[in-house]
Symmetry: C2
């Protein structure tokens, strides 16, 4: 086990996570802003890219927003031909969302910005540190369920 962290160490960890996250979102934010898009659009692009054919309802649950909050940015993405909605074959009430070619390109660029940042930090830190990072982050990422 570890020694208990003193106040200084705790705050150091808090600040590192805080500023790391800021750095992590700053790049995509700039690119999105140039197109008149925001973080919601980014999250939509990301999750639709992750799960092509995802339904609107599932997307709402994933993002944790109301359908009204989702509607406007989603419509914007569809109008810009970044996302396409197709009625499901099994249940035609359900609209299945997926990225268009343009959508895939934009999503890839956004993800790449973040990937580059992470990859660089990993490369500079070495394999062991990278593995440690993943170990800790995996626990943190699931902490919300257990608290």
């Amino acid at each position: 086990m570890l020694d208990p962290l003193d106040d200084q160490d705790s705050r150091l960890a808090i600040e590192r996570l805080y500023f790391a996250y800021r750095a992590f979102t700053a790049g995509p934010d700039r690119l999105l802003e140039a197109r008149g898009l925001g973080r919601v659009h980014h999250r939509i692009l990301y999750f639709v890219g992750r799960k092509p054919g995802i339904s609107v309802g599932t997307l709402i649950d994933t993002l944790g927003v109301s359908k009204q909050a989702l509607n406007s940015p989603l419509r914007a993405l569809i109008e810009r031909d970044l996302v396409i909605a197709q009625a499901s074959l099994e249940d035609r009430r359900v609209r299945q969302l997926s990225l268009t070619e343009d959508g895939r390109m934009l999503e890839a660029r956004l993800t790449e910005i973040q990937t580059a940042l992470l990859e660089r930090a990993f490369a500079e830190s070495g394999r062991e540190a990278t593995e440690g990072w993943h170990t800790v982050m995996a626990r943190l990422a699931t902490a919300s369920h257990t608290v």
Copy 2:
């Protein structure tokens, strides 16, 4: 050097950072909401706690918001006797901010929530992983300056 990350690994890292940060802010958010306070209030409490006697202008720069955006939440904290503003002795235009006893207590509780989360993840991950986490995060946290 590391092998270049494939798409899967990159997305895993992105998602871990995303969800870890969500878990990290969820606890304080709940406590703050119960008092009618928001994240801005938290950040003010945090940075004033970090740098007692900090001026309003410096706080504005640190948080990266306009003075109008800072004004209302700061006033709320002062009215609730969590923060106290005193004219500087050298320059009486400058208001030096610090936490009251109540402010220190609330700030400590908020920080403790995050500390507990981090400390637990560190403890479960072991010393080496914790060091690796710090190594990577330190680089990420400063990445914004170099990009």
